[in-house]
């Protein structure tokens, strides 16, 4: 015990002397929370729309005014020639081209339906998808208006939604659908993961690189003492980062925290055992800090992109959803959102706790086993 305490002391001393790491511990959470929380939003505003009108009727003017009124669109060009619109699309002067055919109003009145063509620049798939969805919503809004004014025969429209049905909804746990409320817990999860995996693996590999591990290996220090001494500081620092990040989140964005703080930190402590285990495992398969950095980066990249932070897991194809069950970040992001925003209790996250405990056991056993094997 005395040895471990002394090793911890030594590690902290070295970490606090490291001129690169110490400022990073404080700068990273602030930068991530300020920049990422504001930048990473799914909302798209000011889509550039090119308007081609062959009809020039009251109905097409009505539709035009609806697009003009929407904050999602900005009409950057109008014309009568579809080719001019296509050229604008090519030059990135427009994201979406909307073409109203001639006889639009006549068809609408006579047959109760008329076609409109939407062309979207899908180089950015998310933008194109959201853009057409927004456009459909605007067009749907016009349908409803036309129906209620009885300018159209009361038939189910192309959307299949009877006009009389009125839907009201409310967003629980995030009433204003604020993306920050949704993103900040995810960013905090990333922060904890970053510290746990990168720093811990590099810290052990550094001893290999400098040769100090050689001198430590010939002492009576037991392997477990060395490993605990190496990983524990990052366990503590990562939990500190979580607390620090939560304070910033509260001060800057007033993110609600409905759940139990103890439950969140308890789960974070367990989750960190998994992340530190991964860091330890990486350190057993690498010889230099450069290699460790590269491997950590590769693993983190996949974990982060498949964590459900940027892309909802439900939107992934089935096989990818299966893979996310192997991703520890997925569990942590789910739990941190559940506990912070929904006030989940231990019973609600039982499954997550079980999986993380098993994961921690397996990855650490694997890492220690690999660590021993390499030594002889």
């Amino acid at each position: 015990m005395r040895t471990i305490r002394f090793l911890l002391f030594k590690e902290f001393r070295q970490i606090f002397r490291n001129r690169a790491i110490l400022p990073l511990i404080f700068v990273v959470p602030i930068v991530q929370l300020i920049i990422l929380a504001n930048a990473a939003t799914y909302e798209i505003k000011g889509l550039k729309l090119y308007w081609v009108d062959h009809d020039l009727s009251a109905s097409s003017r009505l539709l035009y005014s609806k697009f003009e009124a929407s904050s999602y669109f900005e009409i950057t060009g109008t014309g009568f020639d579809k080719r001019a619109g296509e050229a604008a699309l090519m030059r990135d002067q427009a994201d979406i081209l909307l073409e109203v055919p001639s006889n639009f109003e006549r068809d609408l009145m006579r047959e109760g339906s008329a076609g409109i063509q939407l062309l979207a620049n899908a180089v950015d798939g998310v933008k194109a998808g959201l853009g057409t969805a927004y456009a459909q919503a605007v067009i749907g809004g016009m349908n409803v208006q036309l129906l209620s004014e009885q300018r159209l025969p009361a038939l189910p429209t192309a959307g299949g939604r009877p006009a009389k049905l009125d839907i009201t909804f409310s967003n629980w746990f995030n009433p204003h659908l604020d993306y920050k409320t949704f993103m900040v817990p995810g960013i905090l999860a990333l922060l904890v993961t970053l510290i746990g995996s990168f720093l811990s693996s590099m810290n052990i590999v550094r001893e290999k690189e400098l040769g100090t591990i050689e001198q430590i290996n010939v002492t009576p220090i037991r392997k477990y003492q060395f490993i605990v001494g190496k990983l524990m500081p990052f366990w503590i620092i990562a939990l500190f980062e979580l607390a620090f990040g939560l304070v910033i989140a509260k001060l800057l964005y007033d993110i609600p925290f409905v759940g139990s703080l103890w439950l969140l930190f308890g789960f974070a402590g367990l989750y960190l055992l998994v992340v530190l285990g991964i860091g330890l495992f990486i350190s057993t398969i690498t010889e230099t800090q450069q290699q460790a950095m590269f491997v950590s980066w590769f693993i983190m990249m996949i974990f982060v992109l498949m964590s459900g932070m940027f892309t909802a897991i439900e939107n992934m194809p089935g096989w990818a959803q299966q893979i996310t069950y192997l991703n520890p970040i997925r569990y942590f992001i789910e739990v941190i959102r559940m506990v912070m925003l929904k006030g989940a209790s231990f019973n609600d996250i039982q499954w997550h706790v079980g999986v993380m405990a098993g994961y921690a056991l397996v990855i650490n056993a694997l890492a220690v086993w690999n660590y021993r094997k390499r030594l002889s």
Partner: protein
């Protein structure tokens, strides 16, 4: 008396490469033993096996009567090891490094101050300086202090004087002599032949084979042939001419001269001078000299290579 270090039939292979080939060696307690050989001879492999950092492929080795594989814990508590590369914490101060290793071994600097005093007192004025900011000689003293902090009975030093200036080297060997007086068995490896004379006994090692084990005087007395130093302005041409001389036994370049031995029992230096003049070396000088450890090493190496 039981030997402090006993090695028998020890081999180490790294894949195809044979680092050690069936080495036998016995080192008495309190001996200052030198392992002399060029880079890549297997010195580091041998020391790392004895320091319980490497497993031998074949054979056995024991330190203080305990097997290096089975009783590595006992050995680690009772030995000091200084790797060839400085491997203390650069970002910790001199004092912090010392107290780290003292704590690991469950002791304190005060408890063993008397053993390390002579060495540590030289770096004590810099005890708040980071180890990484020390000069080469001071780093070496710090490493030695850390290796001694728990009063080891055996000390393994892997090329401690490589990359250290001549004054610090001499000083370092002086410290080793003093440690010997404390009854510590010391095994030290070095590529420098001139350091061999400072050991009680030496082993000459080459390509994983021990060529000879003896006291430095004993090794030198094994040199059978009269040895001559030959000098000339054009050393390269001289060496080529000597090597092509039909009666030449060996000719090796040493500093500013070439050490030469002849095959014939009765060798007249004048005949060689005449031959050299015929080869175009007009200014050659020749004088008989006393063989050193390096001469013995070269001779043994040559014999070893021709017998294989």
């Amino acid at each position: 008396m039981n030997p402090a270090i006993q090695i028998s039939g020890l081999s180490k292979h790294y894949g195809e490469l044979q680092a050690l080939q069936s080495v036998d060696l016995s080192i008495a307690p309190g001996e200052l033993f030198g392992l002399i050989g060029p880079d890549g001879a297997g010195k580091t492999s041998l020391i790392r096996i004895l320091a319980t950092l490497l497993l031998p492929t074949e054979g056995t080795a024991s330190v203080l009567g305990k097997d290096v594989v089975k009783h590595y814990r006992f050995i680690r508590r009772n030995m000091g090891y200084m790797p060839g590369r400085f491997s203390l914490y650069y970002d910790l101060s001199v004092e912090e490094n010392i107290s780290l290793f003292a704590t690991i071994f469950g002791t304190t600097l005060q408890e063993n101050y008397e053993l390390v005093r002579e060495i540590y007192s030289q770096i004590e004025p810099f005890k708040d300086r980071k180890a990484g900011a020390l000069s080469g000689g001071m780093k070496q003293k710090l490493a030695l202090s850390c290796a001694l902090i728990h009063r080891p009975k055996v000390l393994f030093l892997d090329e401690p004087t490589t990359g250290v200036d001549a004054v610090s080297r001499r000083e370092f060997w002086g410290m080793l002599q003093n440690l010997k007086a404390h009854g510590i068995t010391i095994l030290v490896s070095t590529p420098y032949m001139d350091e061999a004379g400072l050991c009680d006994r030496i082993a000459l090692i080459q390509k994983g084979n021990i060529l000879a084990v003896d006291s430095p005087g004993g090794i030198v007395s094994q040199f059978e042939r009269p040895l001559y130093a030959v000098r000339a302005a054009d050393k390269y041409h001289l060496l080529k001419s000597l090597r092509s001389y039909p009666y030449a036994h060996s000719a090796f370049s040493f500093g500013d001269s070439i050490h030469y031995t002849d095959q014939r029992g009765a060798f007249a230096p004048e005949s060689l001078l005449t031959y050299l003049e015929g080869q175009g070396v007009k200014d050659a000088q020749i004088e008989p000299i006393q063989a050193g450890v390096e001469d013995c090493f070269m001779a043994l190496m040559q014999r070893h290579e021709t017998s294989h």
